[in-house]
Symmetry: C2
Amino acid sequence: MALELVSSSKCFEGEQRIYSHNSTVLGCEMKFSVFVPPCMLEEKKECPVLYYLSGLTCTHENFIHKSGMQQHAAKEGILIVNPDTSPRNVNIPGEDDAYDFGSGAGFYVNATQEPWSKNYLMYSYVTEELVELVNKNFAVLPNKKGIFGHSMGGHGALICALKNPGQYQSVSAFAPICNPIECPWGQKALKGYLGDDKEQWKQYDATHLAQNYAGTPLELFIDQGSDDNFLKQKQLLPDNLLTACAGNDHLQAIYKQREGYDHSYYYIATFVGEHIAYHAKFLKN
Amino acid sequence: MALELVSSSKCFEGEQRIYSHNSTVLGCEMKFSVFVPPCMLEEKKECPVLYYLSGLTCTHENFIHKSGMQQHAAKEGILIVNPDTSPRNVNIPGEDDAYDFGSGAGFYVNATQEPWSKNYLMYSYVTEELVELVNKNFAVLPNKKGIFGHSMGGHGALICALKNPGQYQSVSAFAPICNPIECPWGQKALKGYLGDDKEQWKQYDATHLAQNYAGTPLELFIDQGSDDNFLKQKQLLPDNLLTACAGNDHLQAIYKQREGYDHSYYYIATFVGEHIAYHAKFLKN
């Protein structure tokens, strides 16, 4: 599990780095981004870690270029890890053909259908291999770990937290897909990666998982712009998740609707500081 | 001079917009970005305007995606305008072949050499046509106008201010090319756009202009990362400009060197708030 440093740039007194490594789980070379806060550089201090999962079409770079998150992570003293959204260059015919399936669209599930099942195991990658890699290579507090994301990655963050009670101390999502079983993006991805049996899809559906969650009490911070075209197109369906949470005493949903904001990184940039401060409440106590 | 709105996204309670228009000066369709601060939207208030000129290879989008400037412009109530770095698609053979000449590399000069002289008139575009367009279409205070930029665009900002005493109330530059006559990037561009006669180059060289500046007193805020590869490669040469300013009573240079920072947008994002606050001192008094 050797890490290779691809680049490092000083940013808000911390360092925005990109690493590559050969992923055992995914069977390919993967890149991921790490923002190292100044306190970890200067004081060799152990820090909480916050994972960010990106949306469709993104790589490990969109968030670090466009969100402006570094200033907030620097202030709070949190390491931010942002993996890629799928395996890359694994030579599956058609892997790069669609924006919403295959490369750039791993959906943070473990595929069971050929030919995807050999490499497209993003759920295990982000919850296991990447976490082990980060724990081994950075001075992070292993029990102070949060997760957030955007759109497909917002859903990824929700399912990682809901499927692993107690493992993530905080979770939030910008404009997440909330009920993929019921939306076109989710149906295409879950059918392609998991096959025709819809029972199998439920294990990766945040709304279904919320209905059945019985773990340690968990708060879900859901953020949504009111002018988000994908909300209007019923790709996101936050109401279904909120209803599920309302019916489950183990879960508490905080829902913030942002008047006039769309699905873009301009929206994320506006509220990423609020999210990082939210995670800090849980990760720094 | 009709403007077409290409896109608009809410951002920090303001709006990040992209416009296109047919440029009379450049003879092609041009895009530019405008961040409209919330005070202009909500209170219909007249605002100062700050122009940002980008560096080599950039379009009108790099700065608005990567700098995180919107939060600072929103706070200060300043309209930010970011043009493209060259004419586009003007069918000059080879226009897209090099990263440091032709498209993406207009250098903010008025070319005199065929075939560039018909379209590559970026100096007139940014100091005249774009300013008229902005003044006509936005509620900006015409006498509260600042300019800044990065690298090639930092040089562009400096020459716009130095060649037009009193027209810009403030100027700053991130890692600017300071003396293009003496560096490889500048020599290639100035020779290509202006021909072999080096006397002609001087009218677009910030250091030469600073040596001979005799206008209203002007302060130049020069920002530079100490780990900037292009500084080490002697493309930027800030010392030459600082020496010129030191010898001219009409000019005052403020030079800030940032320890460990490189030439990237991570560096710009770290200090853009300081720059916008600097401009606000001049533009809001």
